[in-house]
């Protein structure tokens, strides 16, 4: 009765109302920011007195914003490649290996996901100050790689566990080199796992704020760091424009992921 939608009676409407309000609560602020980025009011008055592209023009005219966006993209791209490569090799070891401490190792690889990121940020900041990696692209990449790798390992071990290894063995029996069998038989079969590993890794780095705040220098900052620094000064609508661009990138990646998933299924 309580788990049958049509037999809930009046309760059905209460549940629907709560769900509708919650959905509105979750989506409206995002739409609100997107709308304000086209509004003419400097003080973010809503509804805006008139519409304008001024804040986007400001964004694209300011080399600091563009540079931050480019830095974000560059770092996220490098992190994605490394995270998928290292994650792929490690997943083969974790899924197919039978060595002592395997489960402990798997747990260790996932710990960066549960540790408060501020602790890692402060710890890496101290370490990088000592070895001179602070404010460098390498420093950024390493920091983001540590938090992106768990997502990569999770996605890839997941698909690899579902892959029947005897298919790869059959290819070897037919004369393929073991490595060739892995590349031409196994990799295509688990490509959707690799793809989600790539998307998760990219978005993890692209959206990351806390580590980035500590890794940044006045001359090297990512888009989230630039937004953070700007927000500490004032709530300028340029941030709304930058935010909307970030939202568009996220939606595009999510749609791409959904399309690829659909394409792989059919």
């Amino acid at each position: 009765m309580l788990l049958n939608f049509d037999r809930l009676g009046a309760w059905k409407w209460i549940l629907l109302a709560i769900t509708g309000l919650t959905a509105a609560f979750l989506i409206l602020p995002i739409l609100f920011i997107a709308a304000l980025s086209f509004g003419s009011s400097q003080w973010l008055i809503f509804p805006p007195p008139s519409w304008t592209l001024r804040w986007y023009a400001d964004f694209f005219a300011d080399p600091r914003w563009l540079e931050a966006a480019w830095t974000s993209f560059r770092i996220a791209a490098i992190v994605t490649v490394l995270s998928v490569l290292i994650g792929l090799v490690a997943s083969f070891g974790l899924v197919r290996g039978r060595f002592i401490g395997k489960e402990a190792l798997r747990a260790l690889f996932l710990t960066p996901m549960i540790l408060p990121v501020v602790v890692l940020a402060v710890a890496l900041y101290a370490f990088f100050l000592r070895i001179g990696l602070n404010g460098t692209t390498t420093g950024f990449v390493i920091a983001h790689l540590v938090v992106a790798l768990p997502f990569s390992i999770l996605s890839i071990t997941n698909v690899l566990e579902g892959f029947d290894k005897s298919i790869e063995d059959a290819a070897v029996l037919c004369g393929a080199h073991p490595l060739e069998a892995k590349i031409r038989v196994t990799l295509p079969a688990i490509s959707h796992g690799l793809f989600s590993a790539a998307v998760f890794s990219f978005l993890t780095s692209w959206d990351e704020v806390v580590l980035a705040i500590f890794m940044a220098s006045p001359t090297l900052q990512t888009l989230p760091v630039k937004i953070w620094a700007t927000l500490r000064q004032d709530l300028t609508p340029v941030v709304a424009a930058a935010s909307t661009l970030l939202i568009i990138v996220t939606i595009a990646l999510m749609l791409l992921a959904a399309l690829v998933r659909k394409g792989l299924k059919s």
């Binding site: 090799v89 039978r98 939202i247």
Partner: protein
């Protein structure tokens, strides 16, 4: 047998040892990364808490003996508990509705949940900074309706942090709870109805107890994540409402006091790992902190 480059039960002992080493070697790049850039730096930071400025537990004595710091601990706890309770109160009916509503409707709600989860954290926090400010939409609407005469202070206080953090945490409680309710057999509730239970009895005596493990596990997860949150409290909470993560950052960035920073980090780490261990003991491995 040459084809068996990986493990196999039929391979000889020597071969399987070679294979074992080969499989272990595959995890080495990841292991090296995690050891050098995760385990080592965190341990080094914790070590500094008992080494600087002089060896001993002076930093911990100061941290746990100063009213200002104790107030920050208390505030962190209050905010996290408040966010957890509010998220659970909203999250349970939503997860319940999602589990039973027609898939046309639930697809839309899921899309919104996922979009919200993947929208940049700063963007979402910024949206609430704008919405909740003195001249923001919420104050204007309330004044327009004649409910208040003066703008309410909604940012830089407990209300602001709670709204902003609940906004971020809701998907983390709705999605796992949805999975739990989904797995409950509707026949059990039908049986209750046949035996004469009212809706309210069925809810409090059957549905809620059956969903309780999911609620506790989701609540623990939200609580743990809230304890370590940095960005949202820093932007929406104001200085009077500082939370632990911000305190750690301040020790290190503004005060350059590594000893105290390390000590505060250890406190956060111990609390987090303890609660996580409880979660693991009670419910088995869950996918914690997924974004």
């Amino acid at each position: 047998m040459a084809l068996l480059t990986d493990t196999s039960s039929s391979a000889g002992a020597v071969k399987s040892r070679v294979v074992r080493q080969y499989n272990f070697a595959q995890t080495l790049p990841a292991l090296l990364l995690i050891l050098v850039f995760f385990v080592l730096p965190v341990l080094a930071l914790l070590l500094r808490s008992v080494m600087e400025p002089e060896p001993g537990f002076g930093n911990y004595a100061e941290l746990l003996g100063t009213t200002t710091y104790l107030k920050i601990f208390l505030n962190t706890f209050i905010v996290s508990a408040l966010v957890t309770v509010v998220s659970l109160l909203i999250g349970f009916p939503v997860a319940w509705a999602l589990a039973i509503m027609p898939s046309r409707l639930s697809t839309v709600v899921f899309a919104i949940l996922i979009l919200s989860m993947w929208t940049n954290l700063l963007t979402r926090t910024y949206a609430w900074m704008v919405l909740l400010q003195r001249t923001g939409v919420i104050n204007k609407t309330l004044m327009g309706l004649g409910l208040i005469n003066e703008p309410l202070p909604l940012v830089n206080n407990l209300i602001g942090v709670t709204i902003g953090m609940t906004y971020i945490m809701l998907p983390f409680i709705i999605l796992p709870l949805y999975g739990v309710i989904r797995r409950i057999d509707p026949a059990i509730l039908q049986a209750a109805a046949l035996c004469g239970a009212t809706r309210f009895q069925a809810l409090t005596r059957i549905l809620i107890p059956l969903a309780a493990p999911g609620m506790v596990s989701g609540a623990l997860m939200v609580f743990v994540m809230s304890l370590g949150y940095f960005v949202t409290p820093a932007l929406l909470g104001g200085t009077a409402n500082m939370m632990l993560a911000e305190l750690i950052a301040q020790f290190v960035q503004s005060l350059v006091n590594w000893g105290m920073g390390g000590a505060a980090a250890l406190v956060l780490l111990v609390v987090t790992l303890t609660l996580y261990a409880i979660q693991l003991r009670l419910f088995g491995p869950a996918r914690i902190g997924e974004r």
